[in-house]
Subunit: 620 residues, 2 copies
């Protein structure tokens, strides 16, 4: 039996690191994004009144998905905290979706009024099923978070129409979407409704992908033939034969998420096996230290093994979010800490960097080196990232713990209260307290409804080389299973577990095959990956080297970048003078100048004046 995540609605986060960020997400980012949706024309587009001579921007084929992700985020926030203004806006947006639905169930603000003859004619490029997927996810989220069927019924009608159009039957379109998303959305709709036809269609879409002849080559409407080959869409091979993560990174991890979902829902281990091969391929050859993926802006895509350029890194915020979605699903299939580790790595680094500390601007790309030109923007023409990040943050509670066959697993040490009903134990409350990610000490209080024996699996983060566990002050040496301490005993209530994970500043190096990082180190402390920013250094940071023996210390600064732990030490720097106007010289590079180094968490970069940033630093 697979594991079951404890949903965010059963978790109250009360965390000195995350609570302020979730408040910013709720109070600043969501209203801010609403205004952007409105001002950009995305909300009005759903009125289906746009005309070429309206003077307003033409509805784009992925606009509806941006709005849907906002609906999802807003629904999660409202489930946790009432907010009359947000509720009114949400209701109004849902009314727009309801009114925009066509009699046959179809719903898309562009293809209902523009190029209506192209409906389903260019699955590869036109994002209709992708938008449908986000609509379905939003509707399920709205229903589950707030109990309203209004939007869910729209989604069911739309999905039923899609069920009628796609498949292997006579007269049906035997295709699938160029941008995966509908697949995982249909699984969610199956979970919410129990209608098997939705699971069947999700399975069809995943299984059909990569079958020969490749569907996209058979489509008659080829308006954008130049966009790439089938690997870009993960349609080069049937999914079980795919062993390398290729193509557009967001599409890839959305597909893999659906594969994990189907493995679980259909009890099909071969899909999980395929996922594991792809997971290994990413973790061993394609993952940035920031928990991000996508080595190039060209196609927003994976490239080859060990090709992880820092300046050219794409690392789309959505790709990191999708990687978390996928790992979350993998974790429910197999409670292996490596999946939770990767969630943590992405979450605290290359995904959290996607939003400014003030919640009002966003990164699409999250490079690991920048010359001061890459800045967060308020919005994008293709604005998939802001509301994707917001829906992740708004449902962060879901990532903390799972019910496992014999008990509960805690994946992330985010402070708060978790309530879960366990067989025999009744309603159990877990109270997590700590100062993650800045301190490695965590306490966990357990309050079962009645004394009961169950397993408590506590993740040992991969970065923790040493750790101690005690129960009520008595140190224990617990069994370890797939990266989790397993405490199996009778819990009477009131037990206090103390965990302490060592959290020194570490110098991390890359596999030598990653040639862009040769002789470079990254600084990491706990889950936090650090970077150097120009603002903290007199010398150009490209010139700075960190001696192997340099002592590094950490210090929490409450009023700096929203309160972060910085890493400080003494470094050396190349003199810039000898390099003026020169690109190459036959000299020994001498780090002759002394310089102090202050590294800040990567997620907090680009929140001050523009300047150079680097994650990897030369070690000397």
């Amino acid at each position: 039996m697979p594991n079951q995540p404890i949903p965010f609605s059963d978790v109250v986060i009360n965390d000195s690191f995350w609570s302020p960020k979730l408040r910013v997400n709720r109070e600043i980012s969501l209203p801010f994004q609403y205004r952007q949706l409105k001002e950009s024309g995305r909300l009005d587009a759903l009125r289906l009144e746009w005309t070429p001579n309206s003077g307003k921007p033409e509805p784009h084929h992925f606009w509806d998905s941006d709005t849907a992700k906002w609906v999802e985020a807003a629904s999660y926030c409202l489930a946790l905290k009432a907010d009359a203004e947000l509720q009114a806006r949400l209701d109004a947006v849902i009314d727009l979706f309801v009114a925009a639905q066509q009699p046959d169930g179809y719903l898309n603000s562009r293809y209902s009024i523009i190029d209506t003859h192209l409906r389903w004619k260019n699955l590869r490029d036109n994002h209709e099923l992708y938008c449908a997927g986000h609509l379905i996810e939003a509707a399920v989220a709205h229903f589950q978070a707030l109990g309203s069927r209004k939007f869910l019924d729209v989604a069911i009608r739309f999905a039923d129409y899609i069920v009628s159009v796609f498949g292997r039957g006579d007269g049906q379109i035997r295709g699938y979407c160029g941008h995966e998303e509908i697949e995982l959305a249909l699984v969610r709709l199956w979970q919410a409704t129990g209608h098997m036809r939705f699971l069947d269609l999700a399975s069809y879409f995943v299984e059909e992908r990569g079958q020969k002849p490749i569907y996209f080559g058979t489509e008659t409407d080829r308006t954008r033939l130049n966009e790439g080959n089938s690997a870009y869409f993960q349609a080069h091979l049937p999914v079980r034969e795919q062993t390398e993560a290729v193509g557009h990174a967001v599409r890839a991890v959305y597909l893999y998420s659906a594969m994990a979902d189907l493995s679980r829902e259909l009890g099909d281990p071969s899909l999980f096996d395929a996922c594991r091969r792809l997971w290994d391929n990413i973790a061993e050859t394609r993952l940035y230290i920031t928990g991000q993926i996508g080595s190039t802006k060209h196609g927003e895509a994976f490239t080859g093994a060990y090709d992880l350029p820092n300046e050219g890194a794409y690392c789309e915020t959505c790709a990191g979010v999708g990687l978390i979605f996928w790992n979350h699903r993998m974790l429910q299939l197999d409670c292996d800490a490596r999946y939770a580790d990767q969630i943590e790595q992405s979450l605290y680094n290359g995904v959290l960097s996607g939003m400014a500390l003030d919640g009002k601007s966003f990164f699409y790309q999250n490079p690991l080196f920048d010359r001061g030109k890459h800045r967060r923007q308020e919005w994008f023409g293709c604005s998939c990232c802001p509301s994707n990040l917001s829906r992740l943050l708004a449902s962060l509670g879901s990532y903390i713990a799972s019910v496992i066959p014999k008990g509960v697993a805690i994946h992330q040490y985010i402070s708060g209260d978790i309530r879960v009903a366990l067989p025999d134990a009744g309603q159990v409350e877990f109270v997590i307290e700590g100062q993650f990610p800045w301190q490695g000490k965590v306490t966990l209080n357990i309050r079962p409804g009645r004394a009961c024996r169950f397993e408590l699996a506590l993740r040992i983060p991969s970065w923790a080389r040493d750790y101690t566990v005690s129960i009520d002050g008595v140190p224990i040496k617990p069994a370890v299973r797939k990266g989790y301490c397993v405490l199996a005993q009778e819990w009477r209530g009131g037990e206090r577990i103390e965990l302490e994970f060592s959290m020194p500043v570490e110098r991390v190096v890359s596999n030598p095959s990653v040639i862009s990082n040769r002789s470079q180190v990254a600084l990491q402390r706990g889950p936090i990956v650090y970077c150097l920013e120009g603002a903290d250094h007199e010398a150009p940071i490209e010139n700075i080297a960190l001696p192997q023996n340099a002592k590094l210390s950490d210090r929490f600064i409450p009023d700096f970048l929203g309160g972060v732990c910085v890493v400080e030490g003494s470094g050396k720097a190349v003199s810039s003078k000898i390099w003026t106007g020169k690109l190459y010289q036959p000299i020994t590079q001498t780090f002759s100048e002394s310089t102090s180094i202050r590294a800040i968490p990567y997620f907090a970069w680009a929140n001050r004046a523009p300047g150079t940033m680097t994650v990897w630093v030369t070690q000397t």
Copy 2:
């Protein structure tokens, strides 16, 4: 008065390094390319008989240019050495061009029979003027090399027709080509014919570029709108306002070549000033150590300052060839050794690498790191590089020396005889003898027709930290002007000048802003840049580091890679075992294994079994 290159026809190369390569070019590559031109359909295309149902490949819009460059290369070769078979082939190809010319002068194998209604309708993408340019260059070369006017008259008719079509007059097209080439070709045609209208048109094309509104935005036929913005075509600004090298690298250096030509022919220093700014921009921020340009395959283009990725490097063979063309022109405007240095750097490294040692396969891209996947090919769909390289090699003699205002400058120490008529001195012969690039010693014998005073300017290569000069065994300390030793005296005949440039193995480092090369060194000896190849090493070469104090020695091996000097020493390597399946680790990277290192000249890489190659090596 500008300088005047001494043409290849007045130079007999007799060089232990180059002569075998020129023979391979003449005896192997040219016949090989001829067969490719024939088999690919490029020659038949000129018969203008292709039909869609012929079952043969459709003539592509740049096919004629590949053939024209072959004509140019073959003409140069025949000027130096008669070859009946080559001559017969050349004559037949020229007959094809002659017969393909339309009554109005137009000549293009594609647009004369396919899409004839699109003639001049898509200047941005369709390469018609680009092909015309190569045709003109080939015709001028054929005329100058072999004295035949047959092809030249075709080119003049075509150019006259182009003169009638383009310009600022009523009914004329006020456009220019998306791929620069016609500009420099028209200057050559002016030089060959003295017809001012060709120089005027070259000037018009260069001056019109980048004027607002950008012409490409006004073309009605926009069949390939996706290809990039105006900077890709160097059409973003009027040429004198351009200060950064941007866009497609080959197009850029062809434009800059024409700007230098026009500066010289029109006596316009402002165009030379613009060239110098662009030259500095490349030399200081965009040049690979192999003398190559183009940091990305996407658009075959320049990227930003200091962005010089090694694995992703594009470094198109044609771009390096074009860089040599441009520097050759700059050198005639200003006898500054930096231009000759750059010619040498490109020629011996990133351009020569474009051809296999056996002359039968070619690189389009010349990356500085490869995992064994990048191999030379016999031919390409877009096969601009092979015959471009062949025409450069076939005319190599032109790059050795120039007549300067008061005498002669020797730029490249390629052994051979140079004959030039100097005022007062009559016919002067210079005999260069040496073992460049493997040995730094050169002797120069001077044989003037009659005793005469003139300046002899001898380039001091930028890599030579020390050098000695003697005349008839007497050491002298010559004056140095812009990187040239200037020997101004009366030459009676029989003088023997001995030059010796120190040529130790050097470790070269990059400006720290080139983040892909941080902590890396490249090995260079004389003009030759070295690389490590997998074939010579047991350890994966990514794992190898070169200790700062490692002794490096050089050794000439006559029967290795056609006879090269290798660099050998002792290195260290990271153990691969600790990295199996791992991408990052919090460890100190330890170079614990000893390994021998053998570096080979970069130009000779990929001539053995596929394997990894790197130019930049970690220094420890």
